[in-house]
Symmetry: C2
Subunit: 340 residues, 2 copies
DNA sequence: TATCCACACGCAAACGTTTTCGTAGCGAAT
DNA sequence: ATTCGCTACGAAAACGTTTGCGTGTGGATA
């Protein structure tokens, strides 16, 4: 079990100095062709690879970007990560992924851990608890230390940094409009509690759409789900005997459960009740009926976020004080759940 | 935008030596109480955090474990990662996740990248291409450099290392037995091509189960799907006019598509055809009918893998030459797709 | 023969830590 | 007055790199 070979060892074997080895490997003209070849042959033989840690220390950068997300077992977030990985790898960056599990404390710990040398910058979607607590000191601090942060999806308005989001309001509006254009008039919405930023925005979009059709919204058609793990019960209770012709759900799971409940109560989707969801995930594609949804283009979000971050990391330090908010287009993916 | 504060800076400010600061922060008795307090106050004020990179370099370990998986947008793998993260964080380890995207080259690149200083050990599920190519030099090499590797799920028999797997054969057998015990006799299997290790094993399990019931298997009931992206077409073609009373699918997607195709051809699941899948993911839980599946207990796999790896990392270097293969129990989760 | 210039290479600092060992200063004991 | 022993601290090496600069060797030139 031979250990990793270092410059020092190569130098010793070949009876030259460390610097000579280093330069030879870089094909420096300072070193004679002869020596260069010898060193390179030796290095290849022993499978020399420069030690990243040492390089990081020397260069004061790690070529690593830290991604912190609320949940790892979550289709949307993993697609975003896919996008991040893609451009990161193209540009020679590593990606460290940590999940906060929606816990504020874990988010702080992860962030501080990565901030103290492991990553050059962050791509972040904040935990539910953080949004609730409104304590953002960890984010502020890492930014103060000069590390760029790009937030996506679950962002924080009060923090000034680069952001990549979708227009949740507009997306929800698009979804609701679609239902309205199909003739639906009694549209229920299954959404989250208000402190979830995206939930609130989507609710707003729903209300906007109704307003644009001069429909007065009916509070009894709005369900704000608290506990996603027991959403089915909540939805069942809510939908019972409700006179509706459509449902807009702010995520896949709500949509699927709505369909389930509706079907159990004898209502067919899409014939009697149309359903639109949010997030184009596995369920949306494979459920029967397949779901009409607003797609968030997660991979593109990841790509954009990574691009912005890397640009900032490699940019000329100075004019970095400009922050932009990129809004990714959403699109309506029509499937069976709203077909005539 | 103040930069991160280092020992050196604190030392300078307080007009003491670097070593004094370091010791003071560690509450060394060598340092007077007075100085200790002064240093600590200063450090807290400036939010001093030791630089991980420097520590890694000094200690020759990174306290980071590298996870390489074939796909990041994949429910099973993310649950495994969840498990890994859980125990890693408990034990003060960081987790770097890289996806190989089922590409051999990317697997090699990621592995070498992480091996050169970024991680102390690996948790690995190999890419499809790697299994096909049978080129394992990168894994061998990192092991030769003294870095422990734990493989899970998609493992390589030829490589001697710790492994965490399920008994795919047994799981498939359990699934098939379940169908047999319900009275099904013409059971089709939707599986993968043979070079996918888990696919082959599951196929074997299916055959074993049939054999134990003295049923001669019928090759025309076996479909080895090549291209997962177009599995629906393949399944449709395969299932057309086939006289069967059950389907065993080696993953969720195949199962769901089978149900879809069956339903389109007028056959009801579970009434006329029973279906069992593999992997207890989102689709299995929420599809209608919900899927009876073999659960692989991904989180537990991750936890076990991480535990083994960390034990090896912190173990007394010497007796590390023992490798174990942990077999995680599978379980049958009965749902609607096989209900009477 | 003395001077000069390439050439080819080595020295040393730096990145931020930790830790071993050395030592200045000082009060007390002989 | 000398030595001892303690307290409180500093110097330096080490981890593995990169790189600016210094330098010895040799041949060519004057």
């Amino acid at each position: 079990m031979k250990q990793k070979v270092t410059l020092k060892q190569i130098a010793k074997e070949l009876d030259v100095s460390i610097s000579t080895v280093s330069k030879a490997l870089k094909d420096s003209v300072e070193i004679s062709l002869d020596t260069r070849q010898k060193v390179k042959a030796f290095a290849k033989l022993y499978n020399y690879k420069p030690n990243n840690i040492a390089l990081s220390l020397k260069n004061r950068k790690t070529k690593t970007i830290g991604v912190i997300i609320p949940e790892i077992v979550h289709h949307f977030f993993t697609t975003v990560i896919g996008g991040v990985e893609k451009v990161a790898n193209e540009k020679g960056y590593n990606v460290i992924i940590c999940s906060s599990n929606n816990s504020f404390d874990k988010e702080v710990i992860n962030m501080e851990m990565l901030a103290s040398g492991s990553a050059d910058g962050f791509i972040l979607s904040v935990a539910k608890e953080t949004q609730l607590k409104k304590d953002y000191h960890h984010i502020q601090e890492t930014m103060n230390q000069g590390m760029p942060v790009v937030m996506f999806d679950r962002i924080i308005d009060e923090i000034v940094c680069d952001k990549v989001i979708i227009d949740d309001t507009k997306g929800a509006q698009m979804a609701t409009n679609h239902l309205l254009s199909l003739g639906c008039r009694r549209i229920a919405i299954l959404t989250t509690v208000d402190y979830i930023s995206v939930g609130k925005l989507r609710t707003n979009g729903y209300l906007n759409a109704l307003r644009s059709y001069d429909i007065v919204h009916d509070d009894s058609l709005i369900l704000k789900i608290e506990d996603i793990d027991h959403c089915e019960e909540e939805i069942e209770e809510f939908l019972k005997d409700k006179d509706i012709d459509a449902v807009f759900a702010v995520n896949e799971l709500f949509a699927v459960n709505a369909i389930k409940v509706l079907r159990n109560s004898g209502k067919n989707v899409p014939e009697e009740v149309r359903v639109v969801g949010f997030t184009d995930g596995i369920l949306a594609k494979h459920f029967i009926p397949s779901l009409t949804v607003i797609s968030q283009h997660g991979e593109e979000m990841g790509e954009r976020a990574a691009t912005i971050l890397i640009d900032k990391l490699e940019g000329s330090d100075d004019l970095t004080e400009e922050y932009k908010t990129v809004i990714i287009d959403t699109s309506l993916v029509e499937r069976q759940s709203t077909k005539k």
